[in-house]
Symmetry: C2
Subunit: 427 residues, 2 copies
């Protein structure tokens, strides 16, 4: 029996679609069938119109190959605007809302021939309050958040690729929980126009995929940077194991995943050593906290003014915290962030990439929370490229990722290292 | 005859409104009358509903004082979203468009009791193609752009305060041309949520007013930073005259305005000297050019895909330039910008503020272009606070401003210096 299209990688699918050895319609049908079979269990989608998808696939099949994503079905986190589909931001306030435009990243996908399959579940405004999505590995466990639907849909082979976004840990954590690759690029690498802003200093559009190569394929097309797919670099990677000041929150399976990966990578020829953390990084997590909340209170000021009762109490409390944060404290935290970024630039004189935890452990039981972003916030604040790579499994047999962190603006090298690491860990 | 409310400064109006010595309705009526008398000549507004304004004013009068802007009529550039008024971005593509939310800066104004009077004319997506606005000092001349309507309305006393935005020179230049104060804060000081993004690295929300104190009043309320209004600092200001590498484009009246201001400020006790320009600043203008266009092409990708024929040929050409810009060139230009910012931080070790040209000269004849941003782009790229202060007049009797530039994130000091400079130049 031949492999079903939805079991292929995006890279394989793209090759077959480019050569017209697979039709976009077949590819779409395979994914739609998977969704029909599994969606009631997983709950990854907020909007999906199968007829519309098939019509668009037929149009793609009838015309010329449009670009590197031709015919590839792609899920889009519902914090990201689409002019032809509802965009509800995980909030009842925007029930049925339809933006006037596509987000820049969606426009780029369409220009490259990608087929927007539908919109995926986000937590409330990509913050804490979860949607209904379950973890495909065990639906009693959270898929993580806030890019819950994108992570679960990719993990469950409902779609080969999806867009997410990260302000705290919203790409890396769900990728780790769902056993897939999550890629949060350097801050600003993917244009944010049309993504509902939460924290201007932190919001980063990211990518969900089932391999590093697939993540690079989507990122290259969205950014118009084909060089991101040049992952063939072979070198004796200098890898710094960076436990961060939050290491005490790592559960046994995360400690085992990071330490086990470090050993295997060293055995495979990498130069692995423990990275010394500059002291000022002790302040990074609290800097992220204040910056995020200060900016969030401004970004959601309209919703607080006019739709206060439709916000969850948890989000209201966060917005009140942000409103109460004195501007002087915010300014001081921005200065901490800037100083940490400079200190980190120096660390990258010694290392090609850093190896860190991706999440505190495997996905927690229950859908009431989406887990902790303790191992993500600092890196989001640092604006560095981060890739979560599946590495181990936890006590309940659920996936545990490790996080590969690169130098700011050197996403290609970070992806190349992550690809090498992925190969070693899969072997 | 007592002074009409629309001839008062915003600061005076605010004081009278807070004390309930003037009613919001009286204030609104005075401005609406001015608009009725002058709008056919000036063309500053894209949307204004007098009945709605009066109803809102009555509501403000009937309730408690809401905040520091209570009852102050404020104009909003039509690149900035308002949930209850059309927001058309200066483009026929968005005729009648109404966003789902208020921009963060609009929400902040309303929370502080400000009365959004209406929407003001912007060039096409705040780029080059002008709207119909004329310069109140001589309607055969441009008011400058892209914040054309905001500058003209404030200059013509149709409104005491307005919001604008600057990506190239869109606050400082029209303020100079219209003889008012324009204030472009440090990048990011005013939250951008709900402002149509053009260039993520450059877009900055700014303020139009008829005095530095008025500009500080609005900025303080919008940002929740009352300290911005503390302009009483008296010191022997260290002022560097910075001609920039574009000085050759300065017309006689601009040269006279800058040099005359330098002399008068020195005579008034400032320590004025010629600032040495770090050589790398020669590259700043071209860095701005590529960064702006690269990002613009991404921000308006949807409009290029779906509404190409509704864009002006000039904007299409700019978007094509941005699409063709190689990512490697863009990255190199970002690095230039970052290096210049660091070099500028060092310059501010020697100076409290810099003094520079605000525009090439007085407002050019005709409404077909809005003038040049040669003396603005570098500063927008530098992310520093800039204030245009009226300083002189040109050969046609039109206003010419000078530009006061402060250290990044020290907006209070820049405003305090600008206020002192304004007092000297008015004396």
């Amino acid at each position: 029996m031949p492999t079903a299209p939805n079991d292929l990688t995006a890279t394989e699918l793209a090759r077959l679609l480019q050569r017209r050895e697979l039709r976009a319609e077949e590819v779409a049908r395979a994914h739609l069938e998977r969704i029909q079979a599994r969606e009631s269990l997983i709950g990854a989608w907020t909007y999906l119109d199968a007829d519309r998808v098939l019509r668009e696939a037929q149009v793609l099949d009838a015309g010329p190959v449009r670009g590197p994503l031709h015919g590839l079905p792609i899920g889009v986190k519902d914090i990201i605007g689409t002019f032809d589909m509802p965009t509800e931001y995980g909030s009842p306030i925007y029930k049925g809302h339809r933006p006037a435009w596509d987000a820049a990243c969606v426009a780029a996908i369409r220009a490259a021939g990608g087929l927007i399959l539908g919109k995926t579940v986000t937590t409330e405004f990509a913050t804490s309050h979860p949607g209904r999505t379950a973890n495909p590995h065990n639906p009693r466990h959270t898929p993580g958040g806030s890019s819950s639907g994108s992570a679960a849909a990719v993990a469950d082979r409902m779609v080969p690729l999806a867009l997410g976004s990260q302000t705290g840990g919203s790409v890396i954590r769900p990728a780790s929980f769902c056993g897939i690759v999550g890629y949060k690029p350097t801050f600003g690498l993917i244009n944010r126009h049309g993504v509902k802003p939460l924290s201007e200093s932190l919001d980063t559009v990211g990518v969900m995929a089932r391999s590093v190569g697939d993540a690079a394929l989507l990122a290259a097309a969205v950014t118009g940077r084909p060089a991101l797919q040049d992952l063939s670099e072979t070198m004796s990677w200098r890898i710094g194991v960076w436990r961060t000041y939050e290491w005490g929150q790592a559960q046994a399976e995360t400690i085992a995943a990071v330490e086990g990966a470090a050993r295997r990578l060293a055995a495979a020829g990498a130069r692995v050593s423990e990275a010394a953390m500059p002291e000022r990084f002790e302040q990074a997590d609290s800097a992220h906290h204040e910056i995020e909340h200060f900016e969030l209170a401004r970004a959601l000021a309209f919703e607080m003014q006019w739709h206060r009762e439709s916000l969850t109490p948890g989000l209201r409390a966060r917005l009140e915290h942000g409103q109460a944060c004195p501007p002087e404290l915010y300014d001081a935290k921005l200065a901490v962030a800037e100083a940490c970024r400079h200190a980190l630039d120096e660390v990258f004189g010694q290392y090609d990439v850093l190896l860190a935890a991706a999440a505190t452990g495997e996905a927690p039981l229950g859908l009431a929370t989406t887990g902790k972003a303790a191992f993500n916030r600092t890196w989001t604040l640092m604006h560095v490229p981060c890739i979560s790579v599946p590495a181990a499994s936890g006590p309940n047999g659920l996936p545990v990722g490790i996080q590969v962190i690169g130098r700011r603006s050197d996403d290609r090298k970070a992806l190349a290292a992550a690809r090498w690491i992925e190969q070693i860990l899969r072997a």
